[in-house]
Symmetry: C2
Subunit: 162 residues, 2 copies
């Protein structure tokens, strides 16, 4: 009764996890239980619109799969980002949060949304990617600076904390 390498797949695993695994594999990376665990945590967070730090991911992975070491989570995140299966956003509060990358195995084209964070409650808000277009255009024209709107978040105050 031969198994084909998908031994880690689980019933609950979403389309996105499956897709991420596929891209991971095609990137020449190995698919291990630890990596599955991280991907599942990220998938669940995405569903509930959460943005998790490496440490939070580590904690959740530890809950789901105690055998996965924290250090491995860090290494895994690095690999996943490198393989473009996961992307990260630097928040103003100097934390970095991760989330599953939806498509696009190739490089450049920033498709994802931009983020702003409330310095009061810490909430991260996704904003349409074209919000920053005017700024991006101006920076490019005046300074030759190519803005990457999805790689860092700006701070401010949200309506709840206003």
């Amino acid at each position: 009764m031969p198994e084909t390498g998908a031994h880690h797949l689980r019933p609950g695993d979403s389309q996105r996890v499956a897709g991420a695994v596929a891209r991971l594999r095609s990137a020449g990376e190995r698919v291990t239980p630890a990596r599955y665990a991280v991907l599942r945590v990220l998938d669940a967070a995405d569903v509930s619109d959460e943005h998790l730090t490496a440490e939070q991911i580590g904690t959740r992975v530890a809950e789901a799969e105690p055998s996965v070491h924290r250090a491995t989570v860090y290494r895994t995140l690095t690999s996943l980002v490198e393989a473009r299966v996961v992307s990260h956003v630097h928040l103003g509060g100097s934390a970095t949060v991760y989330h599953l990358e939806v498509e696009r195995p190739s490089a450049a084209t920033a498709h994802s949304h931009a983020h702003v964070q409330c310095s009061s409650c810490g909430r991260v808000i996704d904003v349409p990617h074209d919000t920053f277009d005017p700024v991006a255009t101006r920076l490019h024209d005046e300074l030759g600076f190519r803005l990457d709107t999805s790689h860092a978040a700006l701070l401010g105050t949200c309506s709840d904390c206003g």
Copy 2:
């Protein structure tokens, strides 16, 4: 031969250092050698358009005034920021940089410039504060989010690294 409290002033100290000291004092904070040292380092950095992290400031202070302990530099920066004599910007790379605040002892009104950082060479570029106005307006209208353009930097690629 009575001295009036300016015992720490030095010939080389710029107008800005003097102003910072004045505001510091009027904020009810004490003016100590350590605080002078930090202010001088920040002033020198501003002149050369540098943006220094707490650690870099610590190093430069150590060079100029070896007797000032690193821990004091951290505490000093906290105090100076609180007293609005110094402001800090969170860079995308998850470092925080400090610089002298030019005027405005009062709160709110963001006057200072915004920043963008090159993810390739790390250079921090000051941009006119109105650059982000279109975005700020849109975020405010659509989400009730009040953007603080000077508190965090966005990432991108500068013309040199283009």
